[in-house]
Symmetry: C2
């Protein structure tokens, strides 16, 4: 078995295996390697730099003892996959379901999540998007401070657990998108800096040192991340990756990291003969991210569309705090539906500058649309979901817009039934100083927004994690069951109507009335009429377009020659085809 590690500045690197130190040989670029025939899968190992204590492998495939423990040898070829026929999912029109493994079930494991797939299949999900699983500090966490990027978290079930999960998903016709973080690494258990110039002081991110993607040594740092992406797709059979916060991926190279990554994934797609895709979280409102490489873009397949979320959330909740200050108007929901970005070059008060540029004619399938995500729920002081912040009626209107919009719809776990459980921010740092800093930092930040610090759940408290777990028993309760049925009906309608999942933005027409608070979106023969107000709305609509009611959140509305009367906080979907 061959062991390799990049440590360009080390004078000496030794492999530690079965309590033995084995000298490694350096090549001209600082990559150290050795063949150790005695190594067996399951063996613990590490690397010693310049005779120091052993460290985990930066590319460790398995960290059963956590981020500070030794790495463990893994043989990827040993897993018995049953998905040989799987060819992937095509993202256009598909429904994506964001899942946090630790809170999706009581047990918080891959295996327990796999046991719940019936629910997702019944709902009509196309792919699950898994919040980061790469080994992060402790037993509980969102995963964005992972440090062993190649190693599925020990508390979720480790490498084999994740493979079983993906295999089970494929068996049920579900794709798997994995959330990966390439903009920074967590502070705890991060030994990469000991190995080489993984980080840059040229740029600063909110969360720590930026990755070194364009300085000396950056070829190997880029490979570290790109090989990681390839590994999840190849060894774990993932169908796609969600790239966290690409606006914090700083790279001045002539070939941007994201462009190199998308090209590598396209090569892999051809080699593996199945659909693969990349979706980016980006707050740049820059269409370059999802523009094809041939047209000067980075070739990422899709991006999360926060402007649509913010516009919809602010309108439905009236919450204008923080970044929602830039939103709140019906016109902005209309703008998002028609033009994707609400800020496409206009002045954003929250940002204190002009923001974004027009998306042009990129199809709607290049954007994910949602009313809730882990971030939008979990970054609130109390982890409140939309269901805690608006009426059941408006929840239905919101769901209808998400599921009829020209985007790829995304639901956050439990959203489909308006789960009563919150999704809080939780951590499990063992370093007492860091643990204290995280708890205090959270309190202070939220206190500065006017929250009572005593009311803010402590991220380090195991109870904060436990109360964030879904309560599946509430699915039997009438209001939850009703909301779930509403989601199922919408998803089934979306599937049945090509006009709803073709992503054609050129066929989208949106009208609205800011004062009366209604909005009508036409997509080909389909008309989605929303009344956000507490009163009845009379919405101008040609009888030809309201020939048939496909779905309504209230009693079927009164249809007149040139208008419909829509009940308070309601939505009705019409077809022009009788």
């Amino acid at each position: 078995m061959r062991f390799e590690v990049w440590a360009p500045n080390a004078r000496q690197v030794e492999l530690v295996l079965r309590n033995e130190r084995i000298e490694m040989a350096r090549d001209e670029r600082g990559r150290w390697s050795v063949d150790a025939t005695q190594a067996r899968p399951g063996d613990y190992y590490g690397f010693c730099i310049d005779e120091d204590d052993p460290l985990p492998d930066p590319r460790s495939p398995w960290q059963p003892l956590g981020v500070h423990g030794l790495s463990r040898v893994l043989d990827h070829s040993a897993f018995a996959w049953t998905d040989a026929e799987w060819r992937g999912v095509a993202p256009p029109g598909d429904l994506v379901y964001e899942m946090h493994v630790g809170t999706f079930t009581e047990q918080g494991t891959f295996d327990a999540a796999a046991a719940k797939l019936d629910h997702l299949v019944d709902l009509g999900v196309g792919a699950v998007e898994i919040m980061p699983v790469a080994e992060f500090p402790g037993d509980r966490g969102w995963g964005y401070d992972g440090v062993d990027l190649y190693s599925p978290h020990h508390s979720y079930g480790g490498p084999d657990g994740f493979k079983r999960f993906v295999d089970a998903c494929h068996g049920r016709g579900l794709g798997v998108i994995l959330d990966v973080v390439y903009n920074h690494l967590g502070p705890d258990g991060n030994y990469l800096g000991r190995y080489g110039p993984y980080f840059s002081d040229k740029y600063s991110t909110l969360w720590g040192d930026a990755a070194n993607l364009d300085g000396p040594g950056s070829d190997d740092v880029r490979s570290f991340f790109i090989d990681n992406a390839v590994g999840w797709l190849e060894h774990y059979h993932c169908d796609g990756l969600r790239l966290d916060a690409v606006h914090a991926i700083f790279d001045q190279s002539a070939v941007h990291f994201l462009e190199e990554l998308s090209a590598r994934v396209d090569e892999l797609k051809n080699r593996l003969g199945r659909t693969l895709f990349l979706v980016a979280e980006s707050d740049l409102n820059d269409p370059r991210v999802v523009t094809p490489r041939e047209a000067g873009g980075y070739g990422i397949n899709a991006a999360w569309s926060d402007d649509f979320h913010h516009a919809l959330h602010a309108l439905l909740t009236g919450d204008l705090s923080g970044y929602y200050a830039d939103f709140g108007a019906v016109s902005q929901v209309a703008q998002a539906l028609g033009s994707v970005y609400v800020y496409d070059g206009s002045y954003s008060g929250h940002r204190g500058r002009r923001h974004g540029r027009p998306v042009g004619d990129l199809p709607g399938t290049r954007f994910f649309g949602y009313l809730q995500t882990h971030d939008q729920v979990g970054n609130r002081a109390l982890g409140e979901r939309s269901s805690h912040l608006m009426s059941q009626e408006l929840l239905k209107v919101g769901a209808a817009l998400v599921l009829t919009a020209p985007f790829v719809p995304l639901l956050f776990q439990g959203e489909e039934w308006g789960a009563s459980t919150p999704f809080c921010y939780f951590t499990d740092h063992s370093d007492p100083q860091l643990a204290h800093a995280v708890s205090e930092g959270r309190r202070r930040e939220l206190a500065s927004f006017g929250w009572d610090p005593a009311a803010v759940p402590d991220p380090q408290d195991p109870e904060t994690f436990n109360m964030s777990k879904l309560n599946w028993s509430e699915l039997d309760e009438p209001l939850h069951a009703e909301l779930l049925a509403w989601h199922r009906d919408l998803i089934a309608l979306r599937r049945a109507q090509p006009a709803l999942h073709d992503g054609r933005r050129d066929l989208v027409e949106v009208r609205f009335d800011e004062e009366s608070r209604w909005l009508v979106m036409e997509r080909g023969p389909i008309t989605v009429a929303c009344n956000f107000s507490a009163g009845v709305a009379s919405i101008p609509l040609d009888a030809g377009r309201s020939a048939r009611v496909l779905l309504t959140s209230v009693e079927p509305p009164e249809v007149r020659a040139a208008s419909v009367e829509l009940g308070p906080e309601s939505v009705t979907i019409f077809s022009a085809e009788a």
Copy 2:
């Protein structure tokens, strides 16, 4: 007269004029303004923030007392321009001449430089490129630490002096390109931070805080720079701008600063009805900079091509120190001539990473080619020119390649006659600490490259500036006169032969022999045959291509049926047309 200044965080701003403090009014974006009818051109003024001492205007048009003094009112409409017929110069094929006003003549003024224009016209120059003139600290300097970006330096002759110079150039058919620095400001006399968030801590540059082009308040910072560019083109009638070190212009916005700038300059071009252009210094080897905006680029008209310089310099001098370590082969000169970038994705040892990407089919006129610039000369310990580092024969070969390459050729002042004067790094900081830091920093840096610190001229010593002035009397000396004639002949040939100035890279063919050290470049009917070696080279060349000798640096070479015999260190230019 209206006074305006942006100071978003100030509680109060007053205009100080004629020893009077006049309160200014704030608009919602933090721009303060007042009408002061008593103001007259020539009046000194400044702004007081929150009752502090008066500061110069960030947009001061005139700083006769230097960077720390008050600003002075200027009426741009008062100048009597005589260039109404001027329509600009078209950069393709033109010869650009880089000039430092302070050392071009003994007097070091715009007026003295204007008196030397005959020399440039006789040489065949198309446009002069003026090193930065924006007010910088003291009386002597290169200009890259300017702080009053709207104000031509007092020691060169101030605003009117610069206008007279541009007007004189236009009168002689010469265009004027001005070097501007938008990536940072100098440390001394930089009061911008007192006015607003002009700088960013998100990025770091080698020379100081990066400009805030994408953070809160950045709209006004972008306007500050873009209005500056427009001002030089509109009020000073400049024909173009050279953008210093755009690789240090950090901007994550969806519309990059350079793209916004080029769009504004294109609008201005249409409004003014004359040719304007932008040339960037960029070490990114990224064709996006000079790709049209419609194709996803930034729309800058041309870029300095350092790879061509480095390849040619290292080959002709054998100097492989510093960044020249990446160069030195004949093949690299061939690559630069054929493909522009030597590093177009390959590994650069000096940078410790892969670098660049292919330029594709961009025309050669999008790149400036040169053997010398202020940087390549002045950043050497002793400010040595190429003429100090290679034989007269190789100087001729280098000049021939620069002047027949498919790029826009650029000469550095005095290069045309192999000036014996150096061009050193010089400064005139009044702050003793800064002055000491500059002197010591320069010594230490060069000592680390093995130079004797005692031999390195002190940048603060006026003698370092004085010895960098051109010595025009040496033009009468035979060797200098011979080199000048050689440049004139090459320039005349370039002008006369469309194949040499059409910038068509698709018609360029380059062959070479690394061992025998010769290189042949064909451009349509023209063949440029170079022998870099100290011996005679037998170069395969079809008799059809060597029908006529257009120019040779030696005795006309022996032409055979399928080869030519080229003397040591020589170049001959053939035409296929007899």
